[in-house]
Symmetry: D3
Subunit: 322 residues, 6 copies
């Protein structure tokens, strides 16, 4: 889309050896940044025209969950629409939702596809496409309930669309693994395969309760680079951290490497306290050559960003893979 | 398939006003009817050649769950193979299963399709087809985990295969509604719609915890007649009973009538006691003009049959529909 | 009311040392004794005219719970109305119920009072009075939800109506003690006192999970004799047994003696198997001098009776009191 | 009582559009403000003599819960007694409590009535009256256990005292609706009616788990204005927020309008962290013409205040009512 | 002890291929076989003098759990003492118990050792010795709470006493594996090793929830033959079945073979219904050359026996080992 | 060991009446103080050579739990090894662990003994000894799983080693009391006695859910002074606070005095927020005459210290004992 994109960026702080590091001015989106909002978090951004567009989860002061379009020149300062996205019919006429949350956005071929957790008798994966972030065409839900964290691949694989997702239950879901499914047409889905499961408690406890795909996989020479979240169930609740995995380019249900160490875990004040304390939840990534900027929801309240170098992340995965 | 079929039958007992009644010589399949079995129940039968064939859930004495082919001249006396069904590749090469249980069998166009609860990282819906009950071709699982009680329609609807199922979790699942999904090719599935949900406790408590499709829907002039199970969670566990619903012929996600009263609930000794007490679980139905014979698992231990007249059942549904 | 009442009776079986013993022809009411019923149990009877009247819990085949009037000459053979009791307004116009179950009946001064578990945003205690078991006048619910097992005393105490009850929650309630409350007018209730609590597991495990009043207390020279149920939570569910307590005549929140041993626990086939296995649940008692006949629900399915001598029961309580 | 009362007040911050806003110097009572205290929160204040009096929940360093009288000239700076309130007999001699917490205070006719969560075999509603905040006369508990959040109306309704409450269980209670009950004499209670229930998750998720009355209802020309709390059960625990409802003046079980949006939700540091993170719990309100100052417990640790205009709050309710 | 012992025995029924089979006159001990008992089950027998002695779990009608001595000439007809065993001090003065249940008896060198589940701040393993089944000397509890199913080896191993046990929790314990511990003196225990764990659900579901040692291991040329129970958690509760394992003679924490199929599972009426339905719980075995008779509790209500040939059982284990 | 030790110390802040007070520069060990660490907390220190040594729980960025040796001159500035402790065989060859956490260190006679929560089929108590904090000799686990918080006494009692511990389950353990066990040889353990149990909710709620020994008991003229943690289960999770108990010198299962008030409870920012909010968890104490410095884990993230005078603490216990 864009010839040369300037993504948000800040160099690694002096003295830090961290593979990924936070933006010093986090959060980039505050909880009250639109008049109706109680919190803005778990949101997705992509390059768009001469800047960036995004789809944002804004819970309002009734704590109704919905998704909103937003725009930015620099990826840091955002103008988010005050009204949620209104859908028009795509490949279905069934476009009602009880709620929408945790969007991802993915450019494939000629348009942007939005996936989100869609309320249809419980959570499942909603799909819509847009060309302009003004008109959104809602399609059939990908799966039966209950499902969350549906993330598309940015190109077809062996001629078919591919989506990661995490089968769930209808509550807070104390389990969850990442699967891949394929579709010839974005309407019917099959060839479901398990991609990766929670880690053993003794091997990598931060991801021993559930895991879920985060950002749209980034194509690299060595494989699809996926940022994902992992959860540990402490005696005081779920703690969400961020890791990465490298999936095989041709057979993305094959995991080449996967984080044993987390890349980012709740430690900053806006991650430790908020509507849901101790949450780092990646939903999108921007790249500029080797640089990658990951957008993540913090404490289910605000949006933060973090930075890294793709080559370093992959090298790190290779050196300490689960 | 068959010009004139003689199904198992016994007239309504004198003095009974029941819409459906049990076979006086139940159970028709006992728990130890093959050498390896701990229990045989939740099994499906269809007309086949000059008699009947079936796919039986036989848990062995390790309490491993698997499905076995069986044959009968009269639908009452069964020869069940001593070895479980071995699958060959159908539209997929992924034909391993951690376990198989609760089969259904459905003739569509030119072959028999078997669906069952298939163990692939948890329960989901397995699919296979056979022409002869000797060679079974396993296909892609219909859905992501977790799912149970996948039941096919006996003909395509609007050019597509249609399947009922009940999204579940990975345990004993204290919830569950019936959905329908469509497929152009028995490989990719979509257009998921909620068909019917659990009943309100005060309206029909026997089906207030979860429900699941039972037998292959029977095409009648008035709609698809579906036998299904409903569950109430008493202080001493789940109690499974049987009801029926009439679905719209063209839009089977539309429920025309549905049991408020159960048609059969645990009351016979072999239903009240066994590996799981208080279970009546329908999986198949045979018809002969107006007569219908329903096969059901009893107490997760044996197979019983019950009888009724389709016209009476539909009339009953009309008169007392939920 | 009655000069000389002939209650159902059968002498203690030869060789038995049991304080109470079952009727040899139990159950006296079967699960299908009216056309609509799935089960008839947990029901109350009183002397009425030249025989007996009763209020019966009949769950229908939708498993809707309701109460029905019934009549008997001998207390064993019952004619139960096929339609549930219809209420008219008593001291309130709010006479709707989501459900009614587990009735008790108590004669006080000039009329029969019925109490039951009444569905009003959850279970609470419903109250009605009748003179003839034809017209029933529904009154204000005694308490806020959640409550069950409301049992009236057969005369005023210190000028006020008195009711035992068991505060509960909105589910299967894994706890529960017996309280007493008073009312000047059957409309407003107060002076709530704890009467007796569950027993210590090591002292009397059959009543260590919850207890609830059963029959209307019987006035004896030594105190109010109350039959009640106690519950133990085994690894396979709740088990309900019957005990008795003797309450102080003037201060019935004072327990004089109380069963350490149960008087009756599930052991007969109709108590061990049924809709809810392992339930003995007393709801009423008839007396004739020293004889007492206790009506109890069995396995949430049928009604049984058991017999004893009041003097022996009190002596037993004295000798082995908790 | 008071001719002209000067209540704590601070104008709405510049640029704010919030209906209600926090005091900039919150908290007004700190956790260690008396020597024995671990935390002081969920407390009630009223005009008294030439200033204010209050009843404060002070948990001591054994985390025993008790209520303490306190006094203030300005409603901000408080002198709280170092010893808890000692009760004398009111309309009952049963004045022991296992614990006391979450008090409310209400002037009716000639005296102040205090209600609180009283430990009598579990939580129920304790009642006492005082003329001077020195001598407190404890009365009968209003209800059977288990109950919390008992709040009186400041005048009789149709000749009877009226109390809001929330039936509960004996633990952390993952459910709860608001009921009203009436009493002719503050001793016997009846005519229990459900006033308002939790909201549907998709309509107003912040109040979808439980709700409870907060401050004594304020009589306005349009109805009784009630501040209440609502709770959502996140994966990391309960989150308590504040809303308001307008109840019909004559039939206060009729809700005229009710918050869809919360009015105040945990966002300040002293609300996000403390003994129980993420709690805003209103217990009292002072009014001065159109101004209202709401006292609320924050994080089960300290007391904060917030401000608003009654007319604006009512207008807000009308415009966005559940 | 005995030169030639005639143990209870009945040949395999005609036509049966079962490895183990039930006694046709089961149960051998009824629930009311002593005056105080509610149930007699989970009991242990050994050869004694010219017949047999046993220690029986008799729950009384208060459902207090205690152990009783009993005697029999033929192992089938038992005289059980009407009073529970009274302990005298063995190697400790702390001989109080909150309760005693599930005894085992083991002859080592010069005396009989009894182990049982002993109530000391929760369940742990009690130990006592006797020479005559009249005087019992209680010793130190082997372990900290919580533990159940302590079973001694009939001879020292490498100079030390050895005991199997199953660490538990303080409730119904939905988990549990078998460990071995050693002691130089029956007072201090250590060298704890895990012997065998629950089976994978897909391999042997009947033992996938918890397992526990049953009878005293029988020394054979090929190893220690242990009968044990396994549990599956169905939607209607725990189901207990019996299997066997062969442990290495010198290193009994090494499992040579282990049942994949159960040897006996609940199927007889007295196993399917009772105080706890669906329980087969082995506690003792008698041998006569190749014959073995296993005593087991049925439905937590009565005692049954079953038969087999040691050589066949070992052969069966070898052919189908987990 | 040391003639005169200078322990970390800071006088009581002006105006404070607290029995114990925090170091003003807490935390003394930060979460990232070694390169691999995610958090460093729940750690133990002792005098060593001319300064101090310690064993630290450092969870790495995979959230694997392990223990590390560290050294300090002043007890405040620590050099912690970057690699975890490697064990060599002590009195056993079984020295593998699934994980190690929550160490304590105790000097007895001629060496340092380390105890910790050791992963062997679940948590149990691991034991090792060292002379130099370089070579550690791992011994037999003290107990069967499941156990945590094993704390040794610093000298033999009646000729035997003595250890406090808290029997647990295999999860987050919502219960737990402190027991003592004895061993003649650090290999076999017995004579298990219950020392102290959780407090009644109404007496001392901060320790009503579970308690566990903290630091090695300090010998005083009046008894063994033990710092321990207590837990309350709030609606938003477990909250850990610190108290103290005085145990009888000769019979340490006899509690002389015990905290009713906590001595330290989460209130500082680093205690209120972190990986597990609201945790104060004592693991070690240093003494210098009457001064005592307690090391505690804060929020499962960092290490803090607090100060007090032994004489004052004992006096406080005497004046307000549970």
């Amino acid at each position: 889309m864009k010839s040369k994109l300037i993504i948000p960026w800040e160099n690694r702080p002096d003295g830090s050896n961290d593979i990924m590091w936070r933006y010093s001015k986090n959060p980039v989106v505050g909880r009250y940044d639109i008049p109706s909002s109680n919190s803005i978090f778990n949101s997705a951004v992509v390059p768009f025209e001469d800047g960036f567009a995004g789809v944002f989860r804004c819970d309002n002061k009734s704590v109704q969950m919905n998704i909103f379009a937003g725009f930015s020149k620099d990826g840091i300062h955002w103008e988010i629409n005050h009204d949620p996205i209104e859908m028009v019919a795509g490949n279905t006429s069934m476009i009602d939702s009880d709620y929408k949350y945790d969007p991802r956005v993915c450019w494939i071929e000629d348009r942007y596809w939005v996936t989100w957790c869609n309320g249809y008798h419980g959570p499942t994966i909603g799909i819509a496409y847009t060309y302009d972030f003004k008109t959104f065409h809602q399609c059939e839900n990908a799966f039966l309930p209950f499902n969350r964290n549906g993330v598309l691949f940015p190109e077809k694989i062996d001629g078919k669309y591919a989506m990661l997702s995490r089968p769930s239950d209808n509550g807070h879901t104390p389990f969850g693994d990442i699967y891949i499914s394929y579709s010839p047409d974005m309407k019917y889905w099959g060839e479901h395969r398990c991609v990766m499961k929670v880690a053993d408690f003794t091997k990598s406890a931060w991801q021993c309760t559930k895991i879920g795909a985060g950002s749209v996989p980034i194509k690299t020479a060595e494989g699809w680079l996926l940022f994902y979240h992992g959860v540990i169930n402490t005696c005081n609740g779920f703690r969400y951290s961020m890791g990465a995995a490298l999936l095989d380019l041709e057979n993305p249900d094959k995991v080449l490497y996967r984080s044993q160490d987390y890349l980012l875990a709740p430690a900053a004040p806006y991650e430790l306290a908020g509507d849901v304390p101790n949450v780092v939840f990646p939903c999108a990534a921007l790249t500029d050559d080797d640089k990658v900027t990951v957008y993540y929801g913090a404490a289910d309240t605000v949006v933060g960003i973090s930075f890294g170098y793709i080559s370093e992340i992959i090298e790190h995965l290779k050196q300490k893979s689960l």
